[in-house]
Amino acid sequence: MKSKVVPTIKLYDYLLVPIQIELDDNTVERLQMQILHEIHENDVRGIIIDVSMVDVIDSYISFVLSETAGMAKAMGCHTVLCGIQPQVALTLAQMGIRLKDIITARSLEDAIDILDELE
């Protein structure tokens, strides 16, 4: 596999994906492929995407994140999104965007707790 878009961390059976880069369309699409490959290669049972450093999430980024969660689900994997900034949550809600197939959590600890309970 080509170089990773986002450096990930394997934690228990989970894959932690901390997004700390600007998400342009190409990057978010490459990230999707990367996550799917990592689920396949590392026997991951849950994905935690940390977006606490992301300051704009628009409709396409939301779409690709939801789509990725749907794909991960098909591979037997739950996806938790954590750390959405208040102004990003406000913007998504006002635009009428729903994050389909995604579980949301307040923090990383919360995300791990949620995934633990799902097992």
Binding site: E22, L23, D24, D25, N26, D55, V56, I57, D58, S59, Y60, S62, F63, V64, E67, Q85, P86, Q87, V88, L90, T91, Q94, M95, G96, I97
Partner: protein
């Protein structure tokens, strides 16, 4: 269609590549921050510009985004104005496109234009099939 004089604007962004979407979003964010908008409004403005830029790239292949600061209304409220225009295929049914949940693109939620309208204070769209599309949006700065 709308006549544009680029000299009337503070920022002119050419949208031609996919990466221009992220660039325009960043430029809008910085400009709104400099204009002292609240963090919530900066995020809304940056998100709206991101949607406008993507529409240009996706449907018209290329176009421009113009941004300026102005004083609007009798109270001379500080306002950001964003104009996105292209000479693309135009929109057949503008009402439907703006209503939300409708899209002609496969990988899309169809919430772009409807979302922009909800995020901004004013929204104006002109589109003619075969000629192009222009969208003008504004957001007033609130006292906080």
């Amino acid at each position: 269609m709308i006549e544009v004089n680029p000299q009337d604007y503070d920022i002119v962004l050419k949208i031609k590549d996919e990466s221009d979407i992220a660039v325009s979003r960043q430029m809008a964010k910085n400009f709104a921050q400099k204009m002292n908008f609240s963090l919530a409004d900066v995020t809304k403005i940056a998100t709206a510009v991101s949607e406008l830029a993507r529409n240009i790239y996706r449907y018209a292949k290329e176009g421009y985004i113009y941004i300026r600061k102005k004083e609007a209304g009798p109270e001379k409220a500080t306002t950001i104005e964003i104009l996105a225009c292209d000479k693309g295929p135009g929109i057949e049914n503008v009402e439907l496109a703006v209503s939300g949940g409708y899209t002609t693109s496969e990988r899309s939620l169809g919430l772009g234009l409807a979302g922009i309208r909800r995020l901004m204070d004013s929204f104006h769209i002109e589109s003619e099939v075969g000629k192009g599309t222009a969208v003008i949006v504004e957001k007033r700065r609130r006292a906080f």
